[in-house]
Amino acid sequence: MDIALIGRIIPVFVQAAWTTVQLSLLSLVLGLAVAALIAGLRLSHLAVLRFIGTAYVSVFRGTPALLQIFLLYFGGPQIGIQLEPFAAGAIALGLNIAAYMAESIRGGVLSVDRGQMEAARSLGFGEGQSMRWIVLPQAAKLMIRPLGVNAVALVKGTALVATISVVELTYTAQRFIGSTYKPFEIFAVTAVLYMIMVYGLTLVIDRLDRAYAEEA
């Protein structure tokens, strides 16, 4: 065990972990926005819109995330989409996780008792208003856990963009192994950093969950 090596690499690895955090946050924001849209399509009255939403989910959940990253980064330029590795990674990860998050959001909405929508409608609320004031506030609470699971998967999934040379945590680890030949120390440090990030995230999720639980 090369303790001195660990001490030396930590600053660089913390820097790389920060890149992973930024990448995660960006994909998370993009993912949530797209997920909300897709969930809306999936819940629509119009068959066409439902079909589009379902197709999105099927495609992004039915193919490897790695392939989606490659397709955007390597295939993109061919159709005029030229992106930096970081941007390509963030977008591909965001679009991918959106498919899963859309299902979490939809599940939350569908878990709210049908009687809630009916009670709202019977008072004279329109469909959108009923969603906004009655169904979504209740669904939000039910979504936090599943969305949290998606977010954790996303953070770990960022490791995939090492393959398109985004200088995040896993890429940095691989590069250091090439120069030091100490894979055990280096992967151990890397694993600990991922665990810290995931642990921090679960703390946030727990807090949100509790904050919502107290409301009712």
């Binding site: 008792d113 009687g115 809630q116 009916e118 009670a119 709202a120 409608r121 019977s122 008072l123 004279g124 609320f125 329109g126 469909e127 208003q129 004031w133 009655i134 506030p137 209740q138 609470k141 409301e215 009712a216």
Partner: protein, 254 residues
């Protein structure tokens, strides 16, 4: 000239669920201030009929009128939404399972519709909520959340919530059948009080005694059709139809 226009009028109401014909051409009307009880065996279409009145169910045939306005009229989607929302604001509905909004306090449950739909200011809406709660004897629960209330209290809040929109009619779908027996009376009492105030009401119920006490007219439904209707005294004591007789007999013995 007296106003003879019925408050609610249902003409030839037909409804299918898939191949199943649940309403087979129902006609009835409710005069202003009148109280109609709808009774009948399980699955006879009572709930479907009631829900058709405020368009929670869409009829496949027939018409529903509220105070001279056709409820199920044909309009472009957006126009219909607007129309139906305004119609529903004039009809209070009370559900078997209360359907209070669990994320809102009692005050907010009652105030939200007047605030969002009528633009009422928050203080006024709270005052209104208090007034409505007073009516149902629950003023002290104004800041409670639904989860803390008994079934009877929940249903009384649900009634207060509907009343806060100052509806022209109230529709009750088995308002007391989800309640423990000892909680039934407090809800019935509120309904009787509304009756005394001449609220127009349609009450779907399994409680024959309550129907007899409160209703001006009783409608007996079976298999999606009105079998018999009349004054409670007549219908309960001297039913004409065999179907009514056997239903009532089963009910009184069972």
């Amino acid at each position: 000239m007296t106003d003879v226009r019925p408050m609610i009028e249902v003409r030839g109401a037909r409804k299918f669920f898939g191949p199943l014909e649940v309403l087979k051409g129902i006609d009835f009307s409710v005069a202003r201030g009148q109280i109609v009880a709808v009774i009948g065996p399980s699955g006879s279409g009572k709930s479907t009929l009631l829900r058709s009145i405020n368009h929670l169910e869409t009829l496949d045939g027939g018409e529903v009128w509220l105070d001279g306005v056709k409820v199920n009229q044909t309009l472009p989607r957006r126009a219909f939404e607007k129309h139906i929302n305004s119609v529903r604001q004039q009809m209070g509905m009370v559900f078997q399972h209360f359907n209070l909004f669990p994320h809102l306090s009692v005050a907010e449950n009652i105030a939200i519709a007047p605030m969002k739909l009528k633009g009422m200011a928050k203080v006024d809406a709270r005052a209104l909520a208090l007034k409505m709660l007073d009516k149902v004897g629950l003023a002290d629960k104004i800041d409670a959340f639904p989860a803390r209330l008994s079934g009877g209290q929940k249903q009384r809040v649900a009634i207060a919530r509907a009343l806060a929109m100052q509806p022209k009619v109230m529709l009750f779908d088995e308002a007391t059948s989800a309640l423990d027996p000892e909680l039934v009376d407090e809800v019935n009492l509120v309904m009787k009080q509304l009756a005394a105030e001449h609220m127009t009401m349609v009450i779907v119920t399994h409680e024959m005694r309550f129907a007899a006490e409160v209703a001006d007219r009783v409608i007996f439904m079976a298999d999606g059709a009105v079998v018999e209707e009349g004054k409670p005294d007549d219908l309960f004591r001297n039913p004409v139809q065999e179907r009514t007789r056997s239903f009532l007999k089963k009910f009184l013995n069972g």
